[in-house]
Homo-oligomer: 315 residues x 2
């Protein structure tokens, strides 16, 4: 357990869990969005469901050791999807031991009956950006996480819009190329199939880009090559940017947003991604009510999941 040096009133203190395929992070977060206590475990992603739940229990137990624990009135969970907030279950793609796992009920019991709110990780990141990040003050926004997958969430009418099952804003599986390649979700031509980190790298390799002496064939390596002027690397990012722009423009056309906030590892490519993304948006976002849409990088960084889970708990 790590206790952060932040001090101050404990008003609105909540417990937050950020559950992914690699780690399970927990925190006590105060009403100002400061992380007061932290705890973390690796996700035993290949083990059975009870073992994974055991790691969640360890994270919660460590938080409960804090003298601040009693002040935490509620628990928020942001989890890798799919989630079903209506039923309180999760089925994270990368955690096969959890299928329709009743996480809300289990965490409710493990925390002495505290109220528990579950959202998908894209919605959590959106809640964080709306509370403390680049979407702050925007009543209608789309936030995206472009990484191994492409996730997202919506702010509509001044509030995070999780949808009935907590999956709304799932821009990664919007169709932008209806005759396109089959996607892992079973559909075809999804934004994720074109714009995720692994697909940026795959496309560059297919078109002749080769990694350097270190053998790094990740999207980050493709981004470095693009910055150095490699035309195949540049083209792969441009294609990803085109798909993201089509998805963002379609979102704006459908629900009227005025800002798109892009986070996740691939957003770390900076202008290699953002410059063609802004250009491509002028192609697709043409109607009056979407033309002023802006695209900016996310601000809440690696704590987005925890801060967003905390925000969901108090919403």
């Amino acid at each position: 357990m790590q206790t952060d040096p932040a001090t101050g009133p404990l008003d609105g203190l909540v417990a937050a869990l950020d559950i992914g395929g690699t780690k399970i992070a927990g925190a006590l977060v105060d009403g100002e969005g400061r992380i007061r206590v932290r705890s973390q475990r690796p996700t035993p992603a290949r083990d059975d469901g009870e073992t994974v739940m055991g790691a969640v229990g360890d994270v919660l137990a460590e938080l409960a050791d804090s003298p601040l624990w009693e002040a935490a009135g509620a628990v928020g969970i942001g989890s890798a999807g799919p989630v079903d907030a209506y039923r309180g279950t999760v089925s994270p793609v990368n955690v096969p031991g959890w299928r329709d796992f009743p996480l809300v009920e289990r965490v409710h019991k493990a925390t002495g009956g505290r109220p528990v709110t579950l959202v998908g990780d894209g919605v959590a990141m959106t809640a964080a950006e709306h509370w403390l990040g680049a979407a702050r003050g925007h009543d209608n926004a789309l936030c995206l996480v472009v990484s191994t997958g492409v996730g997202g969430g919506l702010v509509l009418g001044g509030r995070v819009h999780p949808g009935p099952t907590g999956n709304a804003g799932h821009i990664g599986h919007m169709v932008v190329d209806m005759d396109g390649e089959p996607c892992a979700c079973g559909g075809r031509g999804c934004v994720e199939r074109i714009a995720s980190g692994p697909h940026i790298a795959r496309r560059a390799l297919e078109n002749g880009w080769r990694p350097g002496p270190d053998g790094d064939a990740s999207a980050a390596a493709v981004a470095a090559a693009a910055r150095a002027g490699d035309p195949v690397a540049v083209a792969s990012f441009e294609r990803a940017a085109q798909a993201l722009a089509a998805g963002i423009a379609a979102t704006a056309t459908l629900v009227e947003i005025d800002i798109a906030v892009v986070g996740g590892g691939v957003a770390g490519a900076g202008e290699v991604l953002f410059a063609p993304l802004r250009r491509a948006l002028t192609t697709y976002a043409t109607l009056d009510f979407v033309r002023n849409l802006t695209v900016v990088p996310a601000l809440t960084g690696t704590d987005a999941g925890l801060l967003g889970a905390a925000a969901a708990a108090v919403a």
Copy 2:
């Protein structure tokens, strides 16, 4: 003026205007959704803005002649778009004399200072279907009008979601074919570019379909040919259905809806459209939380615009 035979209490009576490129319809609608008084004028669409407003004034004056007028507490307007509900202006594509025309202010003055609510025609149709039609009882729905253009509207969390400017649900200009043909909106690969009536007819003609002796080359004639088994006509409807399915699936993925209601002239093609639409949806709507999506025909018919404008006035 036509006075309908409906009788009963006047609770919730409102005045409604449905403004399109062909006609301007007005009505007094009671709280049960019954049209009690009607009035209508052709839209002088090629004339200057004041002449068009004159026709609106004539419709309103005729309604005001009714003994029920004094009971009408508010006015709802559904207008061909684009509209700007935030500023109270309209700029219907097919009425060039109205560009940023201050319709809300003008109707407010013409109706003795009654409160006026403006929505786009797609949102109005959605409000009608949610109140009295196929989307009744559904908290999360998409309604579409497939006709000369493709419009639509959203119900989210049990309420019609017009968006800040009244244009939300604009599915016709969602991108579903990011490398596709240029659209009249300035974008490319929009749903409307593939699925509207004129584009269904154009595609059939381009691929060798020929109208019968009556020379009717409309989408309705293509639908008749498709029903008779003409493979080119069938294929043109299948392509339209594919684009609509991609847009509907993208909408469900983004905001979580459980029903899509399809109205407008092209929906009159019946199973020629709906059968391939349901098939194509299984291709694109694959994630757990969208898989149970159903597609049904609209129920409110030609009065949808008036009923939806009335619903908007009381929302």
